[in-house]
Amino acid sequence: MPKLIKNRAIVEDDFVLVTTIEEGADAPEGNVILPVQYYLDNRDALASRDNVAVWLESDQPAELLNDIHQEVAFIAVNFPKFADGRGYSYARLIRERMNYTGELRAIGDVLLDQLHFMARCGFDSFAVREDTDIEEALTGFEAFRYSYQAANDNPSPLFRKRLG
């Protein structure tokens, strides 16, 4: 089973990512991460299942999750390329605007050097890219002791701490 970083530990990933699914086709059984649009189109049939997560593509607005984030197993946001930074804003909106407290997973082109930024924006689980050394990737969270600006991990910017 593939590995995953979750809450700063390496765990087994027991969900299967479904990248495409034909319109009208049934969702696979078992633990699955479905495209968000497919979930929205088949919400009635899927809402009763407790083993369905959804994933958002980087060119889809985070607002698609507005009504469903409370009923899915977790939310994943795709980074089709590590240089595509839309997912960082989505994570903050999902956490801070939708007040989502469940698992938020980064999938796709997820590399060591992004983990610190991703974690600060609200991701707590990371399906690091297959060819990444997952043990070494754990060091990515330790890049900085302090941060100047507020983010999801700390809503209070450093200047407030400095002022005491």
Binding site: G85, S89, P157, R162
Partner: protein
């Protein structure tokens, strides 16, 4: 000047450590070229034609003498004894070894400097008026706000992978705009509202490059306390909606244009409404604290008139010329702002040697409270010189080779490194600049021509800001051969008159450029009315007159 505390030190030291590890993983093959690229770029490291180029951040242009000496040392130790001032007030080294960069960063960190976000698709160095805090006509000193922006933007986790590079400039002067503010992704103009409270007029979507656009105001007054939350709202909208498929359409200016400024403003206001009262709202205490870093140095109470200064002016024409051109009025009586011109024949505009850097540090220590500033026009400013010391400064500057009295004149040109160094360039720019400097070396003629911005870029990326030069020269590639396109009528430097130049016509071969420039200047001289500047004559008589004369002979 801002001084690091334990947090700033920790953040920059952690960055050095992180970058050392990234470099190690790159050399071990654990990071591919493609993966290493944005990481090194966010640390100012390009891989250029000759060698890597390291761009060191000079936040809002401020340098302490010990920092200047460190830069000189780095130029000696890791480079070929040269450094280059860029139009974003930064400083570049052209010959460092990739493997040495972590050590260079460590040396920089030791003097509270870094190369964070000087390149890459992230928020770049915030620039401002090099005369900030010492000039007349200022609403308020913009530097505390620049430092607040610097800290907020440093390793901003949400905005490390934007669609494109992102540049912010702050202007606080009601008469001038010395940092080409309105051709930035975000330009902030300090203003006071009816109650006398400080805030910003917020302009977005300016930029040069392939599609030059002057920014649009999306808010006439933003209270100063809301600076960071509003910036966050703007960039969050851009991060989500900016074009990521085509790099030429990825700048915020294209998004603002496509949506219309009004619609863009609406999206920003909506976003902002959710975060405006968050903890990122600035407090009066923070604003006061930040301002305390930029308080006045220990000025002496002086008469504005200095008899020694007046005597030297009368005695030496060379000194008088220099004062007339390179010295600006200071807000304090008896003090002056002196600009050291880095432009001279045989040297690329903006290039300084390690020896010159050391000299600048000495002059700063001796005459200007140990500080100097870099400028958008690639020069160096000693901001707090006593008038009675100006003659001594001039003599020392002359000896060091940066006393050319050409500030604002034709030969004080902005010029990118071009094809000699830059891997992106279509054509060389330094030799063109050099030929111009050699041809127009008659100072009397240059002074007679008066204020004239000549800007040269070696490619469409417009690092030399050719679009906003009164005369702009752009290197273009035609089937592998270098050509140069000339534009006229660009303008920057004053408030609310920023303009993009118009193309004169078909481009020229390199050996034709100087002659064409000569013709353009002759047309101006023949047509100008009393004391009329080039740009004003151009506006009055229009492009056709220039076009007809310049291309007449060729036909």
């Amino acid at each position: 000047m801002y001084v690091y505390d334990e947090y700033d030190h920790a953040i920059i030291q952690d960055r050095v450590k992180q970058y050392r590890d990234q470099t190690r993983r790159y050399f071990e093959g654990k990071l591919s070229e493609e993966e290493f690229l944005p990481l090194r770029l966010q640390n100012g490291l390009y891989v250029q034609r000759m060698a890597p180029m390291l761009r060191v951040a000079v936040p809002y242009g401020m340098l302490a003498s010990k920092q200047i000496r460190k830069l000189a040392e780095i130029a000696r130790k890791y480079d070929k004894g040269y450094a280059h001032f860029s139009t974003r007030q930064n400083l570049q080294f052209n010959w460092p070894e990739l493997a040495d960069v972590p050590d260079i960063l460590q040396e920089l960190a030791d003097v509270e400097m870094h190369a964070v976000q000087t390149s890459g698709n992230c928020i770049r160095n915030t620039t401002t008026d090099q005369f900030a805090g010492v000039c007349t006509g200022e609403v308020e000193d913009p530097r505390p706000y620049c430092e607040i922006i610097r800290q907020w933007s440093t390793f901003h986790p949400e905005f490390a992978f934007l669609p494109r590079k992102f540049k912010i400039a702050v202007n606080a002067n009601t008469e001038s705009d010395r940092s080409a503010t309105d051709v930035h992704d975000i330009s902030l103009h300090l203003v006071k509202n009816a109650e006398g409270k400080t805030g910003f007029r917020v302009v977005v979507g300016g930029g040069l490059g392939r599609t030059p656009i002057i920014g649009s105001a999306i808010r006439d007054y933003l209270p100063a306390e809301d600076l960071l939350t509003y910036l966050e709202a703007i960039i969050r909208v851009y991060n989500q909606k900016g074009n990521r498929l085509n790099k030429y359409k990825a700048r915020i200016k294209i998004l603002v244009k496509a949506l219309t400024p009004a619609k863009f403003a609406e999206l920003v206001e909506e976003e902002w409404s959710h975060i405006k009262d968050s903890d990122s709202k600035l407090t009066p205490e923070l604003l006061e604290k930040m301002k305390s870093y930029f308080t006045e140095p220990a000025y002496e109470a002086l008469e504005d008139n200095s008899p020694e200064f007046e005597a030297k002016l009368a005695e030496s024409k060379g000194f008088a010329n220099w004062v007339n051109r390179n010295v600006a009025q200071h807000k304090k009586p008896g003090y002056a702002i002196a600009t050291l011109s880095i432009k001279r024949p045989g040297h690329a505009p903006g290039d300084v040697t390690d020896v010159q850097l050391d000299k600048i540090a000495d002059l700063a220590d001796q005459y200007s409270f140990g500080e100097a500033r870099t400028t958008h026009e690639q020069n160096i400013v000693l901001a707090d010189v006593k008038k009675s010391d100006l003659f001594a400064v001039w003599e020392a500057a002359k000896e060091a080779g940066f006393a050319t009295p050409n500030l604002g004149l034709l030969t004080d040109m902005i010029c990118c490194p071009g094809g000699d160094y830059c891997a992106l360039a279509n054509a060389k720019s330094i030799p063109v600049a050099d030929e111009i400097m050699r041809r127009f070396d008659d100072l009397d003629y240059l002074h007679d021509l008066g204020d004239l911005d000549l800007n040269i870029s070696g490619c469409m990326n417009a690092c030399g800001h050719h679009h906003v030069g009164n005369i702009g020269i752009l290197g273009v590639d035609k089937k592998g051969e270098e050509f140069y396109q000339i534009s006229l009528g660009g303008d920057s430097g004053k408030l609310n008159t920023t303009a993009i130049g118009k193309i004169l016509g078909p481009s020229f071969k390199r050996d034709e450029v100087v002659d064409v420039l000569d013709k353009i200047l002759n047309i101006y001289v023949e047509n100008r009315q009393e004391d009329e500047l080039f740009i004003d004559t151009f506006k009055r008589i229009g492009m056709e007159v220039f076009k007809e004369r310049v291309y007449a002979k060729a036909n």
